[in-house]
C-alpha cells in the first residue's frame, strides 16, 4: 500500500511538473514540418509496397487465411480505438499491430496499420494526412518490425509461447512510441539542449505513459493468440508452411 502511494505520488509530481506535455499517440495534422513529412513518408513507402505483395501472395496461395488476416486487421482496429488511462494522468491507446506481425510477418502489417491510421485521420481528425507517413513509420513499420524481431528472438531462446507473444506485442507497442518521440524531438529540438533535451523530454513522458498500455496490449494479444491457437491450428500451420517455417 505504502509503495503504491509513493508510486502514485511520483506519477502525480510528473503530471504537475509537466502539465502541458503530450502523450498523444499520433503526431497531429500540420504539426510536422513539410520536409519531415516527406522524409518519413518516403521511408514508409517501400514497406507498404512489400506489404501489399506479401498480402497478395498469402491470399493467392492460401485463400483460407483471409479470415485470419481480417481478424488481425480487426484486432488493430479495436485496440487503436481504446483510449486507456495511464499512470501519468492522461490517456493513450495501444496499436494492436503486434499480433499480425507475429502471424503474417512485419510488412503485411504496414498495410493494415496504414489503413487504421487513414481511417482515424480522415474520420476522427486523429493523427493526420500530412503526418501519415511519420505515424505509419512508427506504428505500421517499426512497431511490427520490433514485434516480429522480438518474437523470433524469444522463440530462439525457447521461451514459453505466451511469453514470446507477450514480449513481442508489448515491446512493439513501446517502440512505436519511442519512435514517435524521436520524430518529434528531431523536428523540434529544444532551444537549450537541442535534440537531446527534446528527446529526453518526449521520451520520458511517452515511455512512462505507455508502459502500462504496452503491458495491456501484450496481455490482450496473448488472449487472442490463445484463441487462434485453440481453434485455428490448421491456419497456423498453413501460415508457417507459407512462410517457410516448419
Amino acid at each position: 500500500m505504502k509503495k503504491n502511494r509513493r508510486w502514485a505520488l511520483g506519477a502525480f509530481l510528473i503530471v504537475f511538473a509537466m502539465p502541458t506535455v503530450s502523450h498523444a499517440m499520433h503526431i497531429m495534422e500540420g504539426f510536422l514540418p513539410k520536409g519531415w513529412c516527406v522524409f518519413w513518408a518516403a521511408l514508409t513507402l517501400p514497406f507498404v509496397v512489400l506489404g501489399f505483395r506479401s498480402i497478395k501472395k498469402i491470399i493467392e496461395e492460401k485463400p483460407k487465411l483471409k479470415v485470419l488476416l481480417a481478424m488481425v486487421g480487426a484486432f488493430a482496429f479495436v485496440l487503436s480505438a481504446l483510449k486507456i488511462p495511464s499512470v501519468t494522468g492522461s490517456c493513450s491507446h495501444p496499436t494492436g499491430v503486434g499480433l499480425g506481425a507475429i502471424l503474417f510477418g512485419p510488412t503485411a502489417m504496414a498495410v493494415v496499420g496504414l489503413i487504421v491510421l487513414l481511417f482515424q485521420a480522415i474520420l476522427l481528425a486523429h493523427g493526420g494526412l500530412t503526418t501519415l507517413g511519420a505515424n505509419a513509420f512508427s506504428m505500421a513499420v517499426v512497431g511490427p518490425l520490433v514485434a516480429y524481431g522480438v518474437y523470433k528472438l524469444a522463440k530462439k531462446a525457447k521461451a514459453p509461447k505466451g511469453v514470446q507473444v507477450f514480449l513481442a506485442a508489448s515491446l512493439g507497442n513501446l517502440m512505436t512510441y519511442v519512435v514517435t518521440s524521436f520524430q518529434l524531438a528531431i523536428a523540434f529540438p529544444a532551444e537549450v539542449g537541442g535534440f537531446t533535451a527534446s528527446l529526453v523530454k518526449f521520451m520520458g513522458i511517452f515511455a512512462l505513459t505507455q508502459v502500462p498500455l504496452a503491458i495491456s496490449e501484450g496481455i490482450l494479444t496473448v488472449i487472442v493468440y490463445n484463441a487462434i491457437k485453440a481453434y485455428g491450428n490448421q491456419e497456423l500451420k498453413d501460415l508457417n508452411a507459407l512462410r517457410g517455417e516448419a
Binding site: 503530450s22 480505438a81 486507456i84 492522461s90 490517456c91 481528425a125 523540434f188 496473448v222 490463445n226 481453434y231
Partner: protein
C-alpha cells in the same frame, strides 16, 4: 510438436479470464490513484508542448473535417471498436465451427 494438437492447445477459459482481469486492473488503477488527473486524450496537449519548444511554429495544414463534438467523436471511436470486435468474434466462431466439423 505440431502433431500433438488437442490438449495443450485447448482454450483455457479460466486462465484467459485472469489475464483479461489483469488488463482491466491496469486500466482502473490510475483512475483510483490519480483522482485529480484529467485523463485527457492528449492530442491538444501535444500541440502545446510543440509550441512551447518551437514558439513560432505554425501548423501548416488543418484537418478537412473534425468531429463536431466529443459525442460524435466517441460515436466514431466506438463504431471502430465495435466493427473490429464483431469481425474478431465472427472469425473465432468460424474457426471454432470449422474445427469441430473436421473432427
Amino acid at each position: 510438436m505440431d502433431t500433438k494438437v488437442k490438449d495443450n492447445h485447448k482454450f483455457n477459459l479460466g486462465k484467459n479470464m485472469i489475464l483479461f482481469f489483469l488488463v482491466v486492473l491496469l486500466a482502473i488503477t490510475p483512475l483510483l490513484f490519480l483522482k485529480d488527473a484529467e485523463f485527457e486524450g492528449a492530442d491538444g496537449q501535444a500541440e502545446e508542448a510543440i509550441t512551447e519548444i518551437a514558439t513560432d511554429y505554425e501548423p501548416w495544414f488543418e484537418p478537412f473535417w473534425e468531429p463536431p463534438s466529443g459525442e460524435i467523436e466517441s460515436l466514431l471511436f466506438s463504431l471502430q471498436a465495435g466493427l473490429g470486435a464483431g469481425i474478431i468474434g465472427y472469425a473465432i466462431g468460424y474457426l471454432k465451427g470449422k474445427n469441430k466439423q473436421e473432427k
